[in-house]
């Protein structure tokens, strides 16, 4: 049996969900027999491959770059999981939504900055007006809320998917977690 | 306590309070007099300020927050002083169908304020209404309490200019 091709990414998030994923600890070895990480911040792969079986999306969609990456991942994946509160609800990144993009940026790069004091113009992705959850852009197959989702829940969800079962993580985790 | 007493004397002396006090007395200072009393305050003073709300709450033995809650629930009451002149544009169904939103936009552009606001010189308050029952005359606009039917953007602006220049 060929290994399940898994892609993960973090959009506008803190990487905490990925850390929780790593907290599966020794069971990662068990998993590694069954899965193959084809695209992830944890592996050195620059382009999104085709034929992904499962994509785990951490983080809210906040910039054009986030949006493009998400659309590509969706197009190339069979199953897509909204992974963690930022992806499911926009969570903390969404707290900027009642300020304008300009106000948000000036707060960070001008008011609270010791040097430079100018808005970034190059090499920083352009922010979209609102940070939004993943499912507002693409079809999401499963939602895994939690900030972060507990390692056990991530593990059991993956196991259930590997066994061909339909996972129902909401009974084991929740918003905020 | 003395300060409170002084306040009371001041209140008694002011003629405008007589109508308010009379309303409360007529209702036996019962809690259900609240809305009628607020009407009386607004009629006398043009709006409800915090001091009068406090006075009413005190006189009717009602909690402050309850009085404030009632005063802000009903859109007829305003907690901000109105301008010298008022222009109320009806946004009821008939007036809406007859294009009252365009009139509203024209007025907003002319005087630079949004509905519910008063010009910085205190001359004009712009308000909107939910039907004044003059649907047969749509679109209707009320200038200083007088209903004008079958208005148009030009006619409204003319009226407003007349109101604003009249006092100069």
């Amino acid at each position: 049996m060929s290994r399940l091709k898994i892609a993960t990414t973090w959009l506008d998030g803190c990487s905490g969900c990925h850390m929780s994923f790593l907290d599966i600890d020794e069971r990662l070895l068990e998993l590694s027999d069954k899965i193959e990480l084809v695209y992830s911040p944890l592996v050195d792969m620059k382009t999104i491959p085709e034929g992904i079986d499962l994509a785990l999306i951490e983080g809210a969609v906040s910039s054009e770059a986030d949006k493009n990456e998400l659309l590509k991942l969706r197009a190339n994946s069979k199953i897509l999981i909204s992974f963690g509160d930022c992806a499911v609800t926009a969570n903390v990144p969404g707290m900027r939504n009642h300020f304008s993009v300009n106000d948000t940026l000036s707060r960070a790069y001008v008011e609270n900055s010791d040097s430079g004091k100018c808005l970034p113009s190059v090499s920083v992705p352009k922010l979209i007006e609102f940070a939004r959850p993943v499912h507002e852009y693409v079809l999401v197959d499963f939602f895994l809320p939690g900030c972060p989702p507990p390692a056990d829940v991530i593990f059991s969800t993956l196991c259930e998917l590997l066994e061909g079962k339909t996972p129902s993580p909401i009974t084991k985790t929740r918003f905020g977690a | 306590m003395e300060a409170k007493e002084a306040e009371r004397v001041k209140v008694d002396e002011d003629r405008r309070w007589r109508l308010v006090n009379r309303t409360m007395r007529l209702h036996g200072h019962q809690p259900d007099a609240l809305i009628e009393t607020l009407h009386a305050v607004q009629e006398s003073f043009g709006f409800l300020d915090l001091d009068s709300l406090k006075y009413v709450a005190d006189s009717l033995h009602l909690p402050l927050s309850l009085v404030y809650g009632v005063a802000t629930f009903y859109h007829f009451f305003t907690l901000k002083p109105p301008g010298e002149h008022t222009c109320v544009i009806c946004l009821g169904t008939a007036c809406y169908i007859a294009g009252s939103t365009n009139m509203l936009k024209a007025v907003e552009k002319e005087v630079g304020i949004k509905p519910g606001e008063t010009t910085s010189d205190g001359k004009l308050s712009l308000l909107t209404a939910r039907c004044m029952g003059s649907c047969g005359l749509a679109p209707a606009v009320v200038f200083d309490g007088a209903i004008h039917g079958k208005m148009s953007s030009t006619a409204v602006l003319q009226n407003i200019r007349r109101l604003l220049n009249h006092d100069d």
Binding site: T89, H98, P145, S168 | L64
Partner: protein, 254 residues
């Protein structure tokens, strides 16, 4: 004109009969109850849990959150269990797919209304709203978030109110009025612009009526009202005093 506006109608009505006991069914199981007990009470007595939010034992009922709606056979309308009295031979269904679906959607609406960011909330882990997502199996919100700009009032020396997390259940308003008797809290405005206020919409810390008893904080279902200086783990709400206070007050009045 003379009308008895000062009278709250008391129980001295001539037509009041002794309480009857009714039998009816909940989810197909026959149950019996006093005619003055609500469907919610009877369901709980029989181990059936109906989700609630604005309801709290010891406070008056509002029937406002609509999460406890149940189906009654023969009626096209859904009835809130917290205020509906059973009738003889009524057939009540508490967890049909239809009401569960509605409950989830109503809960989703609540999450869109204000800024409920559970991960950075003092009530994370002991919040009634958060618990409801698990109870109702709400995995995500498929309506648009409204992201309103809401304020935090931390002017009180011991408590703070965060309007971002308020669900307008009015438990604070009721406990302050009905149990503490201070009526510091009420609601101003209406519709989605409604907001809980202290006194004349003044900072809580400057309230002249607040006794500082903190009952409002204890009954608040979310992190909207909290005690200052408490960590997330410490900020649990203690509500057991309510039925007791209510009972004692009832005795006194009798």
């Amino acid at each position: 004109m003379r009308y008895p506006s000062f009278l709250q109608r008391t129980a001295d009505r001539a037509d009041v009969q002794p309480v009857r006991v009714l039998t009816f069914s909940i989810n197909g199981v026959t149950v019996s109850a006093r005619e003055d007990e609500t469907i919610l009470t009877v369901a709980r007595q029989n181990g059936i849990s109906i989700p609630t939010l604005c309801h709290l034992d010891g406070l008056s009922e509002r029937g406002a959150c609509r999460l406890c709606i149940v189906e009654i056979k023969g009626s096209p309308k859904l009835s809130p269990a917290c205020v509906t009295l059973p009738r003889q031979d009524m057939e009540i269904i508490t967890h049909s797919d239809r009401v569960m679906d509605y409950r989830r959607k109503i809960l989703e609406l609540l999450f869109t209304e204000r800024n409920h960011v559970c991960s950075v909330c003092v009530s994370n882990g002991h919040c009634d709203l958060q618990a409801l997502t698990v109870e109702l199996g709400m995995t995500h919100v498929h309506y648009d978030y409204l992201h309103p700009q809401q304020m935090v009032d931390a002017s009180h020396e011991r408590f703070s109110v965060d309007h971002n997390r308020c669900v307008l259940c009015q438990r604070c308003v009721r406990v302050c009025d009905e149990i503490e008797g201070a009526h510091t809290w009420d609601v101003m405005g209406r519709g989605h612009l409604a907001k809980v206020i202290t006194d004349l919409n003044e900072p809580w810390g400057e309230s002249t009526t607040c006794t500082g008893c903190g009952k409002c904080v204890q009954v608040c279902p979310t992190g909207a009202l909290s005690e200052k200086g408490k960590s997330v783990a410490e900020m649990t709400k203690k509500r057991l005093f309510l039925p007791y206070l209510k009972l004692m007050r009832g005795e006194e009045e009798r």
